[in-house]
């Protein structure tokens, strides 16, 4: 049976208490904050629980917030069985971002976490194969961080060029 976001939030609170943050936002985009170390357990419960039944991790994204000294990992959960949604957010410390992996819960998370590791430098604790996925293995830094500075050259190849049109 589909649950509304308030009911899903209440169910998570019932099991994890204050570990689950307050419900923010409205409708489809309503979300709650979870501490980085607890996300794996919360995800496992959300997946296995008979009422929640979140059998699908629709999306996993990372967002850099230098002002809050945080890198936020956002989990969009979806249930094919019940057709309901919930969003969990995790704030990892920006200088040493470590978040528990959910790749054991949803296999889709494996590659999504590798992507967040590659582009934002979040280390997923317990991930079976945390390697870069899109950038070259020896690329310096994590490009989607707001303070990323593009290297001037990579293996002797310049990353910029003179414009032929500029006189």
């Amino acid at each position: 049976m589909p649950l509304d976001t308030a009911a899903i939030h209440a169910r998570l609170r019932e099991r994890f208490g204050e570990t689950i943050g307050d419900l923010n936002g409205v409708g489809r985009d309503a979300w709650a904050l979870v501490p980085p170390g607890d996300i794996a357990e919360v995800a496992r419960f959300a997946h296995d629980d008979g009422e929640l039944g979140f059998d699908c991790l629709s999306n996993l994204s990372g967002v850099d917030y230098p002002k809050d000294e945080a890198i936020q990992v956002v989990y969009h959960l979806f249930s094919y069985r019940d057709r309901h949604w919930f969003v969990l957010k995790v704030n990892a410390k920006r200088d040493d971002p470590v978040v528990a992996t959910v790749s054991g819960v949803w296999p889709h998370a494996d590659w999504q976490e590798r992507e967040v590791f590659d582009l934002l430098g979040v280390r997923f604790d317990g991930h079976p194969d945390l390697r870069r996925i899109l950038m070259p293995e020896d690329w310096p830094g994590h490009p989607l961080r707001k303070d990323f500075v593009e290297p001037e050259e990579f293996h002797g190849i310049s990353t910029s060029r003179e414009s032929l049109l500029r006189t």
Binding site: S58, R83, R132
Partner: protein, 386 residues
């Protein structure tokens, strides 16, 4: 990713006393059947694979990073390049996200124009998927048939928006132009012809014995596995899950349209095999024709684009929108901080999920079948890497 770290297994002796060892092969990145620049590291014992490990990133153009630099309107032409085989859907996803954040309502005629363009684009993309699949498996003629029909579509698109591949037809708030005069009649002429071509195509290849035997029972993906790996669109429906964002989580004017959602039935073997994924696409071609006919019949008059300020600054917030692209449920997670530049844009594409399942389904199948698997999953390399 080099070959280092994938050590060759220690030599072993077979029952008959032969000494053998596994081969580690690099397939790609420039392999004709990988549909773009894409590489697999294959561990094989003779012709049978132990596993195929995908190595992606060759087409990474940092489109998500570009979004943060070019502004809301300026990013639209870049979205075409996310999936250049089905660019219309990327246009649609980005505009939907921006409109949701800013609370803009698209005029109804604009929504109809979008759906017509989307469905033509779905035919466009599925034709390439079906045609190239036949070609990968060794039948060249069906590919030429598919490309011939696709060429008519290219002409229609060119007349609609001036472009044949990277359309940039939609705008935040609606579409760039209304349908050109006489264009609707041309579309109807095309559809009338095209539906007979689908039947011809089925006679030519879909139910060809060699073709079906190549695909039946190969790389079966169970419904549970498909959901766990977040397979979407025809790949998900091929595994027997009747879920289509257009019907089950409707957007635009889809609730007003009548269409069926084809699912894999295990017609030639097991539900979720390569053939099911293929035939779902073929059946969707006809459904798209149905949708376009209805749209042309019932679209109202009026403006096609809402008034949107040139200096577009949606209020701070985030949103996640989904739409059914040719490769299935495409997700856009967009964050705005209230400035003229998007704060973050994450694009979750169908091909990214589809390629991550290759390693799991490639165990103990023939190397030649890997080609069928790649083709049946309809992998489009730029969409994987973005």
């Amino acid at each position: 990713m080099g070959l280092a770290g994938f050590e060759v297994e220690v030599q072993r002796e077979t029952e008959s006393g032969l000494v053998t060892e596994d081969m580690t092969l690099s397939m790609g990145p420039q392999h004709p059947s990988t549909h773009g620049v894409l590489r697999f590291i294959v561990r094989a014992d003779g012709e049978v694979m132990k596993e195929a490990i995908p190595d992606i990133g060759y087409l990474h153009r940092s489109i998500e990073k570009i979004a943060e630099k070019v502004g809301w309107h300026g990013f639209l032409p870049y979205t075409d390049r996310v999936d250049y085989v089905a660019a219309m859907f990327c246009n649609h996803g980005w505009t939907m996200a921006a409109e949701r954040l800013a609370g803009i309502e698209v005029p109804r005629r604009g929504e109809y124009c979008r759906v017509i363009a989307d469905e033509l684009c779905r035919i466009h993309s599925h034709l390439l998927a079906a045609g190239s699949m036949a070609m990968d498996i060794g039948a060249f003629t069906p590919f030429t048939h598919a490309i011939r029909e696709r060429e008519y579509l290219n002409d229609l698109f060119e007349e609609l928006c001036g472009s044949r591949l990277t359309f940039h037809y939609m705008r935040i708030g609606g579409v760039g132009w209304d349908l050109p005069p006489g264009w609707a009649e041309k579309v109807l002429t095309f559809l009338a012809r095209f539906e007979t071509v689908v039947d011809e195509y089925n006679r030519l290849i879909s139910y060809n014995k060699i073709f079906t035997e190549r695909l039946a029972d190969v790389a079966v993906v169970s419904a549970e596995q498909a959901i766990g790996y977040n397979l979407v669109g025809p790949n998900l429906r091929g595994s027997g899950v009747a879920y289509d964002v257009r019907r089950d989580d409707p957007y635009s004017v889809y609730p007003e349209l009548d269409f069926d959602v084809p699912v894999g039935r295990g017609e030639m073997g097991t539900v979720g095999d390569c053939f099911d994924r293929y035939i779902v696409r073929i059946e969707e071609l006809k459904q798209s024709c149905r949708i376009i006919r209805q749209c042309l019949r019932q679209m109202p008059d009026g403006p096609v684009i809402a008034k949107v300020p040139r200096n577009f600054k949606p209020p701070a917030g985030d949103c996640y929108v989904r739409l059914e692209s040719a490769r299935g449920d495409m997700g856009w997670y967009v964050v705005s901080d209230g400035t003229a530049f998007p704060y973050r844009c994450k694009i979750r594409t169908g091909s990214f999920a589809a390629i991550s399942i290759v390693q799991a389904v490639s165990r103990d199948i023939m190397i030649a079948d890997l080609i069928a698997v790649i083709a049946s999953l309809d992998l489009v390399a730029p969409e994987i890497d973005r």
